[in-house]
C-alpha cells in the first residue's frame, strides 16, 4: 500500500519533470518516492524474515534505497527551498555514503554486529519479525548523517521563514517532525533493543504526502499561471496589433534586434524603408550593406556605443535600396540589458528624405552666400584698386605720348621733356604707393593668426566651391593627410587664397575635355616646419615666359579678370611668411604651390 502510493506520487512528479525538464524539484521528489517505495519492499522482507541471518542480510541491503532516499530528500530540500548550507548537504551525503563501508564490512550490517534472534510479534493483525542483537557501534555514522540532515533542513527552513514563505516553512517543519520521529524510533530500536517492527516507511510516507501535496499545489498554481499567461498574451497580441496600427499610420518602421542570435525582426514599413522583402531573413551585417557606404561606419559606431553601455542611440543616415534609390532615414532606439549583458535592441526608423533635402538645400545656399561674400569682397577690393591705379597709369601713358611727340621736333624742348620724365617717375611712384598701401592694408588688418587644421581649412573651402565644380562639370580631388601638423595663419585670408587658386584652376579648364577636367588639391609636410599646399589643374597651363608675370597686378588672361587675384594671394602668403609660386605640370596644366609655417604651439607670425 505504501509502495503503491509512493509509486503514484513518483509517477506524477516524473511526468511533471518530463514535461518541464527544469522542474528538478519534481524529479528529486519522484526519486525520493521511488527509493522509499523500494525501501518498503525491504521492510516487508525484514518483517517476513524467519532467521537472524536472513534478517541481517535484508537489513544490510535495505541501506541502499535508504541512501538513495536520503540523497534525493537532501537535494529536494536544497532545490525546492532554494536554501540550506551546501556544506551541510554535502556532509550528509558523504557521511551517509561512508556509512555503507561498515554496513558491508563490519558485523551483520550497519545496525547490528550480530542479529541474535528474531521475534515474531503481532502487528496490525499479523505476525511480523522484530530483530534482537548486538548493536554495531559504526551505526553512529548513519545516525549522525540523519542528525546533520535534520540540521540542514532546519537551517533551510529558517532561511525560507526569513523570506516569509510560510508554506515552505510548514513543509520544512513537517520534514523535521518525521525525521525526528524516524530517528527516535530507530535509536530506541537498535540501541535499546526494544521489540518493535521496523516501520521507518510510515513516518516517511507522511512526509512524502505533505511534500507531494505542496508540489501538486505548485502544479495547480502553474496551470493558473498558464491561464493568466494566455490572458496576458491575448492582451499583448491586442497591444501589438494596436502598436502596429499606430506604427503603420505614422509610417514608422519598427525593428527589434536580438543581439545574442544576431537576428532582426522588423515590421513591413521598416522593411520597405530599407527595401527588404517581407520574408527576407535579416541580420545586422546584411542591414548595414543597405546603408550608404559613407555613413556605414558612423552607424556601426552609433550602435556599438549603445550596446557598450550608453543604452540609447539616435542617428541619421542614408540607405541605398536595391533599385538604386537613396533615402535619408532617422533611427532612434534603446538597448535592453539582461544582467548587464545587452540582449535586445528595439528602435523606430522613419523617412526624413524630404526634411533632409530642405536642410541640404539651405546648407548649400548658405555656403553659396559665403562664397559670394568672399568673391565679391575680393572683387570690390580689386575694383577700388583699379580705379586708384588707373589715374597714375593714365597720366604716365599720356606723358609718354606727349614726350614722343615733343621728341619729333628737330630741336625738342628739353625742359619740357625733363618735366615730363619727372612726372612719369612721380606717377610711377604713386602707382607703387597704391600697391604698397594695399599690402599694408592687408598686413595692418593684422593677421588673425591661429593654429589651423589643414584638413579643416581645405574642407571649408571645398564646401564653398563644390557647387561651382558641379556646375562647371569639373572634378575636385582632395588629397590631404589627416595627420598633418597644424599651420599658423589667418583662416579667412588663407581661405581666400585657396578659393582663388581653385577658381583659377577651374577657369583654366574651360574648353578642356570633359573627362579631363580635374582640379587637385593636396598638402604635405615639406620640411620640418613647413606645409606645402598644392593646387593643380589639367588646363592649358601657363606659357613659360608668363610664369612670373601672372603675379603682377592687373596682369590677366581672362576677359573679365582684374588681374588682382594672384598678386593679392601672394601678398597674403608672404604676410604668412610663406611663398607662393607657379609651375607647369609635365602632363599639362598648371600647379600653384604655397608654403605655410607649422604652428608648433606658436600662434603669432
Amino acid at each position: 500500500m505504501v509502495a503503491s502510493s509512493c509509486f503514484t506520487l513518483a509517477a506524477i512528479n516524473l511526468l511533471v519533470w518530463i514535461r518541464n525538464r527544469t522542474a528538478w524539484a519534481n524529479l528529486l521528489f519522484s526519486l525520493t518516492a521511488v527509493s522509499l517505495a523500494v525501501f518498503t519492499f525491504f521492510e516487508l522482507a525484514m518483517m517476513r524474515a524467519g532467521t537472524p541471518t536472513e534478517f541481517g542480510v535484508v537489513m544490510r541491503w535495505a541501506h541502499i534505497p535508504l541512501l538513495a532516499w536520503l540523497f534525493s530528500l537532501t537535494w529536494f530540500v536544497r532545490i525546492y527551498f532554494g536554501a540550506g548550507r551546501l556544506w551541510l548537504a554535502w556532509s550528509v551525503c558523504i557521511l551517509r555514503t561512508l556509512s555503507l563501508v561498515p554496513n558491508f564490512l563490519t558485523g551483520a550490517n550497519l545496525n547490528y554486529m550480530r542479529v541474535t534472534g528474531v521475534h515474531r510479534l503481532p502487528f496490525l493483525g499479523e505476525l511480523v519479525s522484530t530483530p534482537q542483537g548486538i548493536p554495531n557501534p559504526w551505526m553512529i555514522i548513519g545516525q549522525v548523517s540523519i542528525l546533520l540532515l535534520i540540521a540542514f533542513v532546519a537551517d533551510a527552513s529558517v532561511t525560507v521563514s526569513r523570506r516569509g514563505d510560510r508554506r515552505k516553512v510548514f513543509l520544512g517543519a513537517t520534514i523535521e517532525f518525521f525525521l525526528v520521529l524516524g530517528l527516535g524510533q530507530t535509536m530506541l530500536l537498535f540501541w535499546l533493543n526494544i521489540q518493535s517492527p521496523i516501520i521507518f516507511s510510515l513516518p516517511s510516507l507522511g512526509m512524502l504526502a505533505v511534500m507531494g501535496y505542496e508540489l501538486s499545489l505548485d502544479v495547480l498554481r502553474a496551470s493558473q499561471l498558464v491561464r493568466q499567461l494566455q490572458a496576458s498574451e491575448a492582451q499583448l497580441r491586442e497591444s501589438t496589433s494596436r502598436m502596429t496600427l499606430a506604427a503603420e499610420a505614422t509610417n514608422f518602421g519598427i525593428w527589434v534586434r536580438y543581439l545574442d542570435r544576431n537576428e532582426i525582426w522588423a515590421n513591413e514599413v521598416w522593411r520597405s524603408l530599407f527595401g527588404f522583402s517581407i520574408s527576407e531573413r535579416l541580420n545586422i551585417d546584411y542591414v548595414l550593406q543597405r546603408v550608404h557606404p559613407e555613413d556605414r561606419e558612423v552607424v556601426r559606431q552609433t550602435w556599438a556605443k549603445a550596446i557598450d553601455g550608453e543604452g540609447k542611440y539616435e542617428s541619421e543616415y542614408r540607405v541605398v535600396r536595391p533599385d538604386g534609390q537613396m533615402r535619408w532615414l532617422a533611427s532612434r532606439g534603446s538597448v535592453e540589458f539582461d544582467d548587464c549583458v545587452p540582449a535586445v535592441s528595439r528602435g523606430v526608423t522613419f523617412d526624413i528624405t524630404d526634411r533632409k533635402k530642405v536642410e541640404l538645400e539651405t546648407d548649400r545656399l548658405r555656403q553659396e552666400i559665403a562664397h559670394v561674400d568672399r568673391v565679391s569682397m575680393m572683387g570690390q577690393l580689386a575694383s577700388a584698386l583699379a580705379h586708384e591705379i588707373n589715374q597714375p597709369l593714365g597720366a604716365i601713358l599720356r606723358n609718354a605720348e606727349a614726350a614722343e611727340i615733343f621728341l619729333r621736333d628737330p630741336s625738342p624742348d628739353l625742359v619740357e621733356i625733363r618735366a615730363i620724365l619727372a612726372d612719369i617717375r612721380k606717377d610711377d611712384q604713386r602707382a607703387g604707393h597704391v600697391i604698397d598701401h594695399m599690402r599694408r592694408m592687408l598686413k595692418r588688418n593684422k593677421l588673425d593668426a591661429q593654429a589651423l587644421e589643414v584638413t579643416e581649412l581645405v574642407s571649408d573651402v571645398v564646401a564653398m566651391v563644390r557647387a561651382d565644380a558641379v556646375a562647371r562639370q569639373s572634378k575636385l580631388e582632395i588629397d590631404v593627410p589627416e595627420c598633418l601638423p597644424r599651420v599658423c595663419g589667418d583662416r579667412v585670408q588663407l581661405q581666400q587664397v585657396l578659393l582663388n587658386l581653385i577658381l583659377n584652376g577651374m577657369d583654366s579648364l574651360n574648353g578642356a575635355n570633359r573627362d579631363k577636367r580635374l582640379v587637385r588639391l593636396s598638402a604635405r609636410l615639406d620640411e620640418a616646419r613647413t606645409i606645402e599646399i598644392t593646387v593643380s589643374d589639367t588646363g592649358q597651363g601657363i606659357p613659360a615666359e608668363k610664369l612670373d608675370q601672372i603675379f603682377d597686378p592687373f596682369f590677366t588672361t581672362k576677359t573679365n579678370g582684374m588681374g588682382m587675384g594672384l598678386p593679392i594671394s601672394r601678398t597674403i602668403i608672404e604676410a604668412h611668411r610663406g611663398r607662393l609660386w607657379a609651375e607647369n605640370r609635365s602632363g599639362g596644366g598648371a600647379v600653384f604651390r604655397f608654403t605655410l609655417p607649422v604652428a608648433d604651439g606658436r600662434v603669432s607670425l
Binding site: Q391, A395, L397, N399, E401, A402, I405, R430
Partner: protein
C-alpha cells in the same frame, strides 16, 4: 567775331593726369587751358571763345554730368568730351544722351583722344558758324518795322498781295511798297529766298 584760336578746356581734379593730358594735346597742336574743377572752369572761361571741354567724369564737388548740364544753359555751349578712369554702361549712355561728343577711358589710345578732341572742335566751329549766321540774320530782321513784319508773316504763308491788303485793311499798292522795302532791307531777291531766311532766323513760330 574774334578770330581767336579754339581752345581745349581740360577739367580734371587729378593734377598729375591734368598736366599729362594737357601736354599731349598741346604737343598734338591744340591750344590748351587747364582747370582743376568744374566750378573753376565755369568761372574763368572766356564767354564766347571757341573750343571744347575735356572733362573727367568723377570729380569731387561738381561732377562731369553737372558740368555738362550747366554748360548747356549758356549762350555759347562748348561741346564736351568725357575721359574717365573706369567707365560703365549707364554713365556712357547718360553722357551721350546729354549730347557729349564722346566718352573715353583715360588709358585709351592716344589717337582716339586726339581724334575725339578734333571732332569736338570741328563741331564747335560748325555750331558757332550757324549761330553767327542766325545772329546776323536776326540783326537784319531787326531793321523791319512792325507793319513790315506783319506783311512778311503773310507773305511767307504764300498769300497774294490782294489777300494781304484785305487782311490788313490797307491798299494793295501799300502792300507792294512794304514788300519792296522788306526785300531791300533783308537783301534777298526772291520770295523763295525770303521764306528761307525767315525760317532760318526763326522769326515766326511754325505756321499752324
Amino acid at each position: 567775331m574774334t578770330a581767336a584760336k579754339p581752345t581745349v578746356h581740360i577739367v580734371d581734379d587729378d593734377a598729375s593726369f591734368l598736366a599729362a593730358i594737357s601736354r599731349l594735346l598741346r604737343a598734338s597742336g591744340f591750344e590748351v587751358r587747364t582747370f582743376s574743377s568744374a566750378a573753376e572752369f565755369l568761372e574763368q572761361r572766356e564767354d564766347g571763345a571757341p573750343g571744347c571741354v575735356v572733362a573727367d567724369l568723377q570729380m569731387p564737388g561738381m561732377s562731369g554730368f553737372d558740368l555738362q548740364s550747366a554748360l548747356a544753359q549758356t549762350s555759347n555751349p562748348l561741346p564736351i568730351l568725357f575721359l574717365t578712369g573706369h567707365g560703365d554702361v549707364p554713365s556712357t549712355v547718360r553722357a551721350m544722351r546729354g549730347g557729349a561728343e564722346d566718352f573715353l577711358e583715360k588709358s585709351v589710345q592716344k589717337e582716339k583722344v586726339v581724334d575725339a578732341v578734333r571732332r569736338c572742335l570741328e563741331r564747335d566751329g560748325n555750331e558757332r558758324r550757324s549761330r553767327t549766321q542766325v545772329h546776323e540774320l536776326r540783326a537784319r530782321f531787326d531793321a523791319l518795322s512792325t507793319r513790315e513784319l506783319e506783311v512778311l508773316s503773310h507773305v511767307v504763308q504764300g498769300k497774294l498781295n490782294k489777300q494781304i491788303a484785305d487782311d490788313l485793311s490797307i491798299h494793295e499798292r501799300t502792300v507792294k511798297l512794304h514788300r519792296t522795302a522788306i526785300t531791300t532791307k533783308l537783301g534777298v531777291s526772291s520770295v523763295a529766298e525770303l521764306t528761307r531766311v525767315t525760317l532760318q532766323a526763326g522769326i515766326f513760330p511754325p505756321v499752324k
